[in-house]
Symmetry: none
Subunit: 214 residues, 4 copies
DNA sequence: CATGAATGAGGATTCATTCAT
DNA sequence: AATGAATGAATCCTCATTCAT
């Protein structure tokens, strides 16, 4: 969870709900105009609050950004942890399922995904570290699946980091390269193509299932 | 070429060299501090010019950004066109060579690559379109190689867009996810792993060469 | 007495006690951080009240300041009136006693003394006049002693205003120039030195008692 | 001298003259409305500049305040150093001359004198120290005269700090208590009364000249 | 062509005060 | 009588851009 640090307002439930509203509004504006081009006043007004009120829920503009990051990363991490429970021992199937879920989550949080690429550097050091730590935890989920596949001699023993971050890159691309994909590939086609490529790409014996049957 | 639009100064050679200097300086500053956190004054001073002078070579701050994008994209496109000449008919080998070159170019222009992700939205519509058009041309190079592979029934007939942009995503990741890769994978290891994964991943018969022989 | 103007709350005793508490808290904060750097919210919280409540006891922030001034000036005036009762006819002795009491009171209300110098101008015209009137009354106490001394030809016939305000300046300096005096002079040494200087300084025949016998 | 720290503008002479103008304007406004109640915009506009320009000459509002302090303290210190050259060996006469000059300087810089009392606390630590150091140097000038008088057994051996700061307090009072003195005492009467009181007040043998013959 | 002083719109943030509960 | 959430004017400061020299 993101460090609380809400000024003035004491009603925790109110704080939570207002923060959510504001974050949602801000996310849209940040994506539409960019973080710097979006003024705090715009956020407040779009959310139907006064500037003063906004600052009762976030202490700085940057905190809004951090909150957005934290909130969605949490959802993604939880979503993946959830699917982890359901995974069988077959690395092929496990990775396919995890990838499917990951791509679904990214699809659901496209704006957030792009925003991380764009405005990560606008965070302060502490926030940066938090975001990176969380991202590392998310990557570790795939890392463990792949390592188990390597241990079982199903996957090739390639540098896990390279593979794991390729997974992230390919997933994120669904959000960052929408301009190219929109209209040419559906989410399902995208999933099938990428899952196939990744699975077949890292499998030890090129032979076997043609993957993609997810 | 980037739309001209240099004010006042007539000497074309001077304009070109000054622009290059300024762009190089600006790229470093943008990467170090971010586009918005970098002031035009800083760029000018770091480059050893006066603010007034800078505005003789670029009409707006945004134009500097656009110039940087355009310049590096041109180098990348040319670098790929170059390698295209040398490609034989074997799609496997062709793709491997093109990928290798592409990853090399991205490694050489990491700052630029990251900057595109971060500040693309700061461009105006015209500039955006130009950058996207160029990116599409770059992608088309891979597109043609892959299509030819599909035609020869070497590659699986998956949506080309998905594959092509996966190539981009994986390449860019070398720049955008340095924080994760630095220290764990060398450029050569990275190249080998990704080229293998991509080739094996899209090949029709999973069997065959184990890739990586680049 | 300070002009009433307490809103809403009717219970006079409650009003008085709350005002005292708030004023005491505010005085400390004003001295520590400055009047402008202290927010009403801080005052309320430090005093253990809600902002809303505070505004039931003071209508404006300025009114708090005014109240502090008024309250302490009253104490000082009363303290001096008190000593006036005990004064004998000897102007030398009378002045010495009054000065001693005055310096003691200032020592006890250093924060207030400094605050008057700093934030007098933050009062509105009416409040300013009230504070000045009270200060004049305090000065008059010394004025009358000195005039009586002049009439008895014990003190030199110098402009009384000059002498009287020198007394104030010297007394206040114990508070305003603490940075210089702290650690070098004790209150008693200070008193002895200043009383001696003042008495000997205004006495008609420089000769006579060497003062300091306070 | 005040640490330079002027941004942007390079023409040193221009910086100096603009700073003087701005400081003069600011001093008036600060005195009339108070430091906090005066906006930077007001200062700029009153001085006939744009806000942006003002910030080419001072980096912060506080720096203006510091500059004002520094500038006038320098004048006062120099003025006293000057008179030091002309002093003979007679402590009585020396002190009388120094006091006369000091009171004259304070009269000439009343606004500054009051402002120090009011807004000293608005300075940051470094600036505070600078102002105090300078004030100490000014006090030392009187300190040395008095000590020499004590050494020659002309003045009583009272704590020098107490006397020296009484001098300051009495001098400053001409500025801080104008509201009481204006109209009742002229500068010359004030000087004569205070010089007499101080000299006679600290002299060893109450006898001797009746002072005031300045 | 170069310089650098001037501009002023615009941004984030604070805070005294109000008022519905 | 107490609470504390809401308000929005006002503040300091930055920075891209212009233009006289």
């Amino acid at each position: 969870m993101l460090a609380p640090a809400a000024p003035t307002v004491k009603d925790a439930a109110l704080v939570e709900s207002r923060r959510r509203e504001l974050a949602a509004t801000a996310l849209q504006l940040f994506r539409a105009r960019g973080y710097h081009a979006t003024s705090v006043r715009q956020i407040a007004e779009t959310a139907g609050l006064s500037v003063g009120s906004l600052f009762n829920y976030f202490r700085t503009k940057e905190q809004i950004l951090h909150f957005i990051y934290d909130q969605t990363q949490a959802v993604i991490e939880e979503g993946l942890q959830e699917v982890l429970q359901e995974l069988g021992p077959d690395p092929d199937e496990a990775l396919a399922l995890a990838l499917d879920r990951y791509f679904t989550l990214i699809d659901r949080h496209q704006d957030h995904t792009v925003l991380v690429y764009q405005e990560f550097k606008s965070l302060d050091r502490r926030a940066k570290r938090q975001v990176i730590d969380r991202e590392r935890r998310i990557m570790d989920i795939f890392g463990r699946i792949i390592e188990s596949g390597i241990a079982r001699e199903v996957f090739r023993p390639h540098p896990v980091a390279a593979t794991v971050h390729a997974v992230a890159a390919i997933g994120h691309m669904w959000a960052t390269r929408r301009w190219a994909l929109r209209g040419t590939v559906t989410l399902d086609e995208f999933k099938r193509a990428q899952v196939t490529m990744i699975l077949q790409g890292i499998r030890r014996h090129g032979a076997g299932q043609e993957g993609g049957d997810v």
